[in-house]
Structure formats: C-alpha cells, structure tokens
C-alpha cells in the first residue's frame, strides 16, 4: 500500500477519491483517539522540550559560542574549552571536588549500610530508629548547613569546641582552616544524607528471602557470618547503584560549600559547580561556564560507564 504517497499528493486535484482517502486515514486516526492521545502527550512534550531536550542540545552549541546576552553570540571554536583549561583555579576546584567525593564515600558509604543491617534486626523499635535517621533528610539543606555553621563556631565556647574541650582537645578553627574545612563540610553532608540511603538499604534488606538465612543457619553459619555471606551479597546490586548515584551527586556538590564557606579559606572548598556558577553569573561568561559543565558531564558519564562495566560481573 502506498497510502503515504496518496496523502502527500492530496493537494493536486486528481479525482474525488483523494480527499476521501485523506479523511479516511486521518479520520481513522481521529476515531481511534489519536487526537486525545496526543493531548495527553502535550504536557510531557512541552516541559521536556523546553526544559530538558532543548537545553541539552543548546549546551552543545553554547559551549562553542561567546555569549554575554548583550552582543550577538559568536562562534569561537574551542576557545571556551581552552580558556577553562587555562584557568589556574581549575586544578584546585577539581581536586576539591574529588576530595569531597572521596571523603563522602569513605564516611558516607559504610555508615548507612551498617545502620540498615542492624536496624533490620529490630522489631518494635525499628520504626523509631527509621524516623530518627530520616529527620535530617527532611530538614532543608540550607537550614541544615546554617545550623552546622553555628556548631562549627571557631570560638572556644562554640558547640563543637565545647564538646572537644570535655575531652581536653581544641579549640579547632573548623571551617577557617584549609585542611579541616572540607572534612567539616562532608560530615555535615553525611549527617544530612545518610538517612535517605539507610532507608533504601533497609527496604532492600527487608526483601531478602528468609529461606537463605534458614539454609545458612542449618549449615551452622553464625549471625556475623550470615550478615557477611548473605545479607551484604544480597543487597550488593543496590549498594553498587547507590555508590554510583552518590558519586554522581557529590561530584556536582554546590549548596553545602556555598552556604558553609563560600569557597574559602583560600579557595580550599571551591567545587567545580561553584566555578561554573562564578563563570556564568559573576563573570557573565556563559560559553565558558557551559564548556566546563560539558567537560564535567562527559567525565561523569565516562566514569559511570567504566564503573558499570567493571562491576557488571560482580552485580549479577
């Protein structure tokens, strides 16, 4: 059937059969609910078109342009990329971001796993433990960071310094010292985020089949050995995926260092996303900012692909 050609030639009056054919096809589409189906797709197409697909495509163009919103955008080739790579702050910001990610993994990965493995054994107190763990997640990040900034008061009578003094330590300049500023931010971020991860692990733990534990118990495996050989392997897929999500999230960290330190002291807490923000909204250099965001996204995608390939064997 060459119905498509019939429709396309419908403008040439070749006979009475053509309009009938057209209405037949379109009419059938309409009768089968084609229009109402399309109406249901309008919200998706509108929001994704404007706020997801178009911006992604536009980023590719924007990274090759010089734009400051005042003059006409001009194509400058890879100039934006070379200017980003020549920025003396890029190395520092990259290291800071990687350092944040490493610290967040080291502190933030084992805590929720251990928490969930233990809380799964609780019965009547499980709900209380879950609620307590989830409270920091509910607190808006800016409030939580401002609250911790208060705790990190460098004066001897600050909250953490008072606690440190009970053990004969301190006072510490938590956020004012280049070495302790980033770990201090990570501790706050872990506090704010571990409940969410823990609840996800807990849900995964609760769906482990009881037969596995029973079989291992009959074989004489104790509680700790069962936790190591059954509990953890059974949630390894969730663990691997959460680790990747955490990594992708922490590599794009912005709120915590911005509100806590603003990037200081001596740029020791400037992250890549803060650099992108500065390029665009302080220097007004949108092309340069987009170039850096593309570099970051490509690196993240490559790292994720390698990670998924490397752990494929282990997760199946």
């Amino acid at each position: 059937m060459t119905s498509t050609s019939e429709v396309s030639t419908s403008s040439t009056p070749t006979g009475p059969s053509v309009p009938r054919d057209t209405t037949g096809r379109v009419g059938r589409w309409v009768r089968r609910g084609g229009i109402s189906t399309l109406i249901f797709f309008i919200p998706v197409l509108f929001t994704y078109g404007y706020f997801a697909w178009w911006p992604i495509l536009r980023s590719l163009v924007l990274s090759l342009q010089k734009t400051n919103l005042v003059t006409e955008p001009k194509f400058v080739g890879l100039d934006n990329f070379t200017r980003v790579l020549a920025d003396p702050l890029l190395g520092q910001a990259t290291w800071n971001t990687v350092w944040f990610t490493i610290l967040a993994m080291v502190i933030g990965f084992p805590v929720p796993v251990m928490f969930a493995v233990f809380v799964a054994e609780l019965r009547r107190t499980r709900q209380i433990a879950s609620v307590l763990a989830y409270i920091p997640v509910i607190i808006p990040p800016v409030v939580s960071v401002l609250l911790w900034k208060e705790f990190y008061n460098p004066e001897p009578h600050g909250i953490f310094n008072t606690i440190a003094s009970w053990f004969g330590a301190g006072p510490f300049p938590w956020l004012q010292d280049g070495n302790s500023a980033m770990p201090s931010i990570v501790v706050q971020a872990t506090w704010a985020g571990f409940g969410q991860t823990a609840i996800i692990y807990l849900a995964a733990l609760m769906s482990i089949r009881a037969e596995l534990y029973e079989a291992a118990e009959i074989d004489g495996a104790g509680i700790v050995r069962r936790a190591w050989h059954i509990t953890l392997p059974q949630i390894r897929f969730v663990m691997l995926f959460m680790l990747l999500l955490q990594m992708i999230g922490t590599m794009q960290v912005f709120t915590e260092p911005t509100v806590m330190t603003g990037g200081g002291p001596e740029n020791k807490t400037v992250t890549l996303l803060m650099l992108i923000y500065r390029y665009a909204f302080i220097q007004g250099d949108y092309g340069k900012a987009t170039a850096l965001s593309l570099i970051l996204a490509v690196v993240l995608s490559i790292v994720s692909a390698i990670y998924l390939a490397a752990t494929r064997k282990w997760s199946n």
Binding site: G34, S36, T37, F40, F41, P43, V44, T47, Y48, Y50, F51, A52, W53, W54, P55, I56, R58, L62, V117, F118, A120, L122, T125, Q127, A129, S130, L132, I135, V137, I138, I139, P140, V142, L147, E150, E155, H157, G158, T162, G195, Q196, I200, Y201, A204, A210, Y213, E214, E217, I223, A227, V238, F241, M242, V259, I276, Y277, F281, Y286, S293, A297
Partner: protein
C-alpha cells in the same frame, strides 16, 4: 488452639512469639532470639543505636528549638545552657516581620504547590500516554525521557537558565516569576518513570473492558486510571513537595527579586546580616512544617523513600 504454645518464663517469651508472627524473619532467627546472650547483645545495641540517633538527629533540632527563643548573647556565648537570660518569645515574631520569614514561607508554599501540581500533571498524563495509550511515537518519547535521566543535570544548568530567560518561539522571560521554578520541575524523568511503571502494572482487562464499552481516552483516564493510582499520587506528591522545600540553586538563579524568594534562598541571603537570634528563629520556623508533616505521615514518608530507592536500583 494457639494457646497450647504455653510460655514457661512469663510475658517476655509470649511477646517474642507474638513478634515472630508479626515480623518477617531477618538474619537473627527466633531460636537465637530466645538465647539470653543474643537478647542481651541485641538489647545493648538497640539502646546504643537509638540513643546515638536521638543525640545525632534529635539533638540539633532541639538545640535549634531552644535557640530560636534565646538571645543572641546566649546562643553565641552559652550554647549549652537553657535560657540563662530568659526565654525570648519575641524572636519568632521579629523574624516573621523583620527578616521577612513570613514572606519567604509563603513563597516556599507557592513554589511547593506549583511544583506539586505541574509535577503530577506531567507525570500522570505522560505516564498514561507512555504506559497505557502507547501510540507509535511513545517509544521515541520514552527514549528521550530516559536519556535525560542518564545525562548529569549540570549539562543543562546554564542553557536552562538562558531558556527561561528567553523561551524559544514564544519569547517569554520567566525570570522573577514562579513559572521559572514550576515548569522545569515538571520535567522530572524520575517521577514519570515511577508513574509509568505503576500504570504498566494496572489490570489491563479493566481498561480493555471500558474501551469496548465505548469509553474514550479521557473517560478511562478520569474514571478508571486515576482512582486506581492513589498510592503513586501520594508518592509523587511527597517527593515533589519535599524536593521543592529543599531546592536552593535553581530558585537562587531564577528568582533574584527578594519578594519572591523561598526560605532556602532567603535564609542564605540574610544569614550574614541578620542578628543570630532572628536567623535561628527563622530557621526554626522553616523547619517545623516539614518535620511536623514527616512525623504525622512517617510511615508513608519512609515507605515512599524506600520505594523510590527500589525503583532507582
């Protein structure tokens, strides 16, 4: 008769047997739970974990509540003492008026309501289209939606801002309007995925039967699909409202006008200049609403948090 399982040593065992029926088996078995050593070990761990959590999670909140009605002097100089200079209730009213917490709170509510509405609208209509109506182009749309899930958000941050500044074709500038927050929030691939998975598992024969009886797409959506999707509507509502409450970078970019900013941006802006006592009072006000909602709907919150993770995995 269930009562034949007589428990020799009193109520402790009876309670454990009841628990064994009510809770699924986890790592530690019933037999092990009946041993004194395991029971003591579990008991100590329980007290330790709950106690530690109470201090870590509850402590900062209680301190915030205390400091919200303290003088700046007390907050800074004697943070561990309970109101050495008396309770200062006026903080709350002053924060509400002087650092405009009332206004920020109203803006946050507006943003949350709008994000909720558009989030639901896009997720429900889109999920219906992708999972139930399934026209030929659904595959392309689905691929496009999935692609945005895997592309890191940072890619489009700048170009999204420029899009909102001057929308292609219709040339509207959404900066300093709530639309700049509401509409992009609708493009959440994660919500759409949750809903279309849920819809794909709805009983297909009910929908088919309605279609044979002559019900159109709208009719099926309104009187069959929506009434069956209360659980997923609840989950999406929680995720979008909590998400809106937490948003910081995007409203910071698109709402430069102070009268429109939500709590997260407003508190950040006033943090440097406002008196400590008022800032903490404002922080307290901005926290009690989500925390109260969470404590009321805790089971629901925790279930959807776990569910959201299960879908991610």
């Amino acid at each position: 008769m269930a009562t034949t399982i007589e428990t020799p040593s009193g109520t402790g065992n009876a309670r454990r047997l009841r628990d064994a029926e009510n809770f699924d088996r986890s790592n530690v078995s019933e037999l092990e739970r009946s041993r004194t050593s395991t029971r003591i070990g579990l008991g100590i761990m329980t007290v330790l974990v709950i106690g530690l959590l109470a201090v870590i999670s509850g402590g900062p909140l209680l301190w915030l509540a205390k400091s919200a009605v303290s003088t700046t002097e007390d907050i800074v100089q004697r943070p561990f003492e309970l109101w050495p200079s008396g309770i200062q209730w006026s903080n709350l009213a002053d924060a509400w008026n002087q650092i405009r917490i009332g206004q920020y709170l109203a803006n946050t509510l507006w943003i949350a309501i709008g994000n909720w509405f558009f989030g639901l609208l896009v997720a429900l209509t889109g999920g219906y289209g992708l999972a139930i109506l399934k026209p030929r182009y659904a595959k392309i749309v689905n691929a496009g939606v999935l692609a945005t899930l895997f592309i890191p958000g940072v890619v489009s941050l700048i170009s999204l801002y420029l899009t909102v500044l001057d929308m292609p074709i219709i040339h509207l500038n959404l900066i300093n309007t709530f639309w700049a927050v509401w509409l992009p929030a609708g493009a959440s691939a994660f919500n759409l995925l949750l809903v279309s998975r849920f819809f794909a598992n709805l009983p297909g024969d009910v929908i088919e039967a309605a279609r044979i009886d002559g019900a159109g797409n709208f009719r099926i959506f309104a009187s069959i699909v929506l009434p069956m999707s209360k659980p997923i509507i609840g989950v999406i509502s929680l995720l979008t409202v909590v998400g809106a409450w937490k948003e910081f970078l995007w409203p910071l970019l698109v709402l430069p006008k102070a009268e429109l900013q939500p709590l997260s941006v407003g508190l950040y802006k006033v943090a440097e200049t406002a008196p400590q006592s008022l800032l903490l009072a404002g922080m307290f006000i901005s926290v009690i609403i989500p925390v109260a909602l969470f404590l009321i709907f805790q089971r629901y919150f925790l279930r959807s948090a776990g569910q959201a993770g299960a879908t991610k995995g």
